[in-house]
């Protein structure tokens, strides 16, 4: 084999691999990208039950109910709209009323059936007293940045 041919073979193999990878990526993108909706988006667009999506907002205060059997029902709100969420399983440790939460699942008959509930946490949480002290000193930097390991509750 000549040097040129040999190089062609390598380029060919590389292109083949890249092509295969590109095809895989495209196919996977189509099926596995999950769009994020706010409660307002969800009530406006009303996606069908076949679409998997993420719903994010605050857990509405006073909305958490536990009808038994490990099921938990709560509302996610963006203060303008709120959507009822049903989930079976253990919610993450940081799940609290009034806190930010993201649920992944499908919208069925106006109820969001979640199979995964996530709550973000990072090292920059703080109790109110310390926050006060920092604010007074003009050193407040709390803004939800930092390395957020995601805490998840997951169910099948």
């Amino acid at each position: 084999m000549k040097r040129k041919h040999r190089r062609l073979t390598f380029v060919g193999i590389a292109l083949l691999l890249l092509g295969a990878a590109a095809a895989l990526v495209l196919a996977a993108f189509e099926d596995n990208i999950v769009f994020f909706y706010s409660p307002t988006d969800l009530t406006e667009k009303k996606p069908g039950p076949s679409q998997r999506l993420r719903l994010g907002g605050l857990v509405e205060t006073g909305s958490v109910k536990k009808p038994g059997g490990g099921i938990i029902i709560f509302k996610i709100t963006d203060t303008a709209q709120s959507v009822e969420v049903q989930y079976k399983g253990i919610v993450p440790d940081l799940f609290r009323e009034g806190q930010g939460v993201v649920a992944e699942g499908r919208l069925m008959n106006g109820v969001f059936r979640a199979d995964e509930v996530l709550a973000k946490h990072d090292e920059n949480y703080m109790p109110p007293e310390v926050a006060e002290a920092l604010k007074k000193a003009g050193q407040w930097k709390g803004d939800g940045k930092g390395n957020g390991h995601t805490d998840k509750g997951k169910a099948k």
Binding site: A28, Q139, G146, K152
Partner: protein, 663 residues
């Protein structure tokens, strides 16, 4: 006072680094030995100054000096000492200081132990190291000073996130950073080689120990992080394709490719440009990883909006380092002439195949990680790219690579034939098929991918052992002869054999835990029984208690199989006093067959009933056992004779020198 000393030391270190970045480089350009020699003292001085700064920050943390913002944000008086110390790097500012400290340690190590390096190469390498350091010093001093004061100081701090209060996580970041920063050595050597316009076997041999050490640390760091997530986050998973994890996985993929391609440069004097490019990419991804995790860009692009100086600085730094080095590569790269020719089917070809797959996988992970950020930045809406995406793309890519991994070591350099190699692997092939059939018979056709993955692990494992047997001529020559050969194998080849074996074990673990994990969520009253994966979990009730800085509710489970008690598991739900943040401690019993794993959730009603989550995770411990073996293999290879006796002298003809001796 301590904080000011630290701050001052950091400023001094910046100036020393500026001198180290410029003078030796100019000296090397002019061929002035006096200026080149400046690299050594400046590197050592810079290290000493950062060490002082780091010691000051540690002191401030240990003594809980709440006039320093960083301590207020991340520490608390009633925290155990270990976590006061790990709090030093458990935050953005402190982690940057740790990063630059490690960078300075590596620089000083080259300065002190690099006596056999040609002076011009050494001067250039240390200059480039210092340039990276200058970027980090500026970033810290201008946007993220760990020594900032606060007035009036509060009485106590906010504490460290309780989830991070864990011995595994205390050493996880330093391990990762040793890996990331270790790749900076490969990067500096690559840039220095580009400036010199020369890459040869000697160069490859000088770079190898640094790359290998960095790879070991990174592998260990990733494994530690995954293990922590497994036992601490409490939902039985060990890898989540979280962007934070991907950030460390990308440099690992690129670094693994680099490790393999540099062997080709060393032995066969070819693939030079590619190896240099890989060194640049690996370090660029390490930088990206550091910033992705630590800057908050990942949480949301809007972190840029809340603190634009930081974000813009990071972007500028990335553009300068990555753009600058790639531009230099485009300009000087074509000058690197490779002499070694090879056929597609050959050892080089196999290693190149490994490289191509690793690079493609790395690109796919990069795309999946950055796509949500890019789309959001362009106003295309918020999306998330989750595990299904990564699994669909990576698993099909990895299967052919692992298939090739068993064959590669049988191929000879330069040109080879596939058929004889495959013929020698026939026993491995038979064993693989048997394993696949047995798995299939036990589990049915339920996840086919699980059967395939387990079979691949067997193929790789038996393939590696076959190669070892071939090498020592087992059963083809007297046993004593085989033993003699076994004893004479170089440690580097032991490293390869054991490392690949470790990967086979890890893959088996991934296959088992990924495909046949059994999970069950239910409400249990005391005395209730649930069977999970053939194990009977009996809930014996929960009681409350108090830990050093938290309160807890602990649930007890008795696990038995075929009526025989195996173990008792305790899972705790803790609430930490300072933050009022709850965390969950899983109850785990590890065996080689799989882990028994129980988690207690919220109380349900008043009768002492709780929501519980029970798992059987088959083979999961193999994942970490395998990675541990890989790290050991890397360390073993690091002690190979050719690294111990020092690198060879440069010759005009770029042939590797067997048994070269240190002058």
């Amino acid at each position: 006072m301590t904080a000011e000393i630290g701050h001052f030391a950091l400023v001094l270190a910046l100036f020393v680094a500026v001198a180290q970045a410029s003078l030796p480089l100019i000296g090397a350009h002019r061929g002035d030995p006096g200026w080149m020699a400046l690299a050594k003292p400046t590197a050592i001085l810079q290290f000493a100054l950062v060490a002082v700064a780091f010691a000051c920050l540690t002191h401030v943390f240990v003594t809980s000096d709440f006039s320093v913002v960083n301590v207020v944000s991340n520490s608390h008086t009633d925290k155990p000492l270990l976590y006061k110390i790990s709090g030093v790097w458990g935050n953005h500012e402190g982690s940057l200081l740790l990063w630059v400290l490690i960078l300075a340690i590596f620089g000083a190590a080259v300065a002190v132990f690099g006596a056999n390096l040609p002076p011009a190469l050494k001067a250039r390498v240390l200059s480039i190291q210092a340039m990276i350091a200058v970027g980090f010093y500026l970033f810290m001093l201008l946007t993220s000073n760990p020594f900032d004061r606060i007035f009036p100081p509060p009485l106590n701090g906010r504490g460290l996130n309780p989830l991070l209060q864990d011995p595994g996580l205390a050493i996880h970041p330093p391990m990762l950073y040793l890996g990331y920063v270790g790749f900076s050595m490969a990067f500096s050597f690559a840039i220095a080689a580009l400036i010199e316009g020369r890459v040869d076997a000697a160069w490859a041999r000088w770079v190898r120990p640094w790359t290998l050490a960095a790879w070991c640390f990174l592998t260990g760091g990733i494994a530690l992080g995954s293990w922590w997530a497994y036992y601490e986050l409490g939902w039985g998973g060990w890898w989540f394709w979280d962007p934070v994890e991907n950030a460390s996985f990308m440099p690992w993929l690129a670094g693994t490719a680099l490790l393999h391609s540099s062997t080709v440069v060393e032995k066969r004097d070819t693939l030079k440009g590619w190896t240099i490019l890989l060194a640049i990419i690996t370090f660029s991804l390490s930088l990206l990883g550091t910033f992705l995790v630590r800057s908050g860009v990942l949480t949301s692009v809007h972190a840029f909006a809340t603190d634009p100086t930081r974000g813009v600085f990071i972007l500028a730094l990335l553009v300068i380092v990555i753009g600058g080095s790639l531009a230099l590569f485009a300009w000087r790269g074509p000058k690197l002439v490779s002499t070694g020719l090879f056929q597609p089917v050959s050892r080089e070809g196999g290693l190149l195949f490994n490289n191509l797959v690793m690079a493609t996988a790395c690109a796919a992970v990069l795309l999946g990680t950055l796509y949500p950020l890019l789309l959001d930045a362009l106003g295309g809406g918020k999306v998330s790219v989750g595990p299904p995406f990564f699994n669909t793309v990576l698993i099909p890519l990895m299967i052919p690579m692992i298939a090739a991994m068993a064959v590669g070591p049988f191929l000879s350099w330069k040109r080879s034939d596939l058929m004889p190699a495959l013929r020698r692997l026939r026993i491995a092939l038979v064993l693989t098929i048997v394993a696949a059939i047995v798995t299939y018979a036990v589990h049915g056709d339920e996840p086919v991918l699980g059967v395939v993955a387990l079979a691949m692990a067997v193929w790789l494992g038996t393939g590696v052992l076959t190669e070892l047997a071939e090498r020592i001529r087992l059963f083809r020559s007297p046993l004593s002869e085989s033993f003699r050969r076994l004893g004479r194998l170089p440690r580097a080849s032991w490293g390869m054999t054991i490392g690949h074996l470790g990967l086979a074990i890890t893959i088996a673990g991934m296959a088992g835990a990924g495909a046949w994990k059994v999970e069950s969520i239910q409400v249990m009253k005391p005395g209730d029984k649930v069977t999970v994966g053939g194990y009977e979990y009996r809930f014996t009730g929960a009681k409350a208690g108090k830990g050093p800085n938290y309160k807890f509710v602990g649930g007890q489970f008795t696990v038995s199989r075929h009526g025989r008690e195996i173990t008792k598991l305790t899972s705790e739900k803790r609430v930490y006093n300072v933050s009022q943040q709850p965390t969950t401690e899983a109850g785990i019993h590890t065996t080689w067959r799989g882990d028994l794993y129980a988690v207690i959730g919220d109380a349900e009603g008043s009768g002492g009933a709780f929501v519980t989550r029970l798992y059987f995770n088959p083979l999961v411990v193999w994942i970490w056992a395998g990675t541990l073996i890989m790290v050991f293999a890397g360390a073993l290879s690091l002690t190979d004779r050719r690294h111990r006796v020092g690198a060879p002298h440069r010759k005009s003809s770029a042939v590797s020198l067997p048994g070269a001796q240190e002058a």
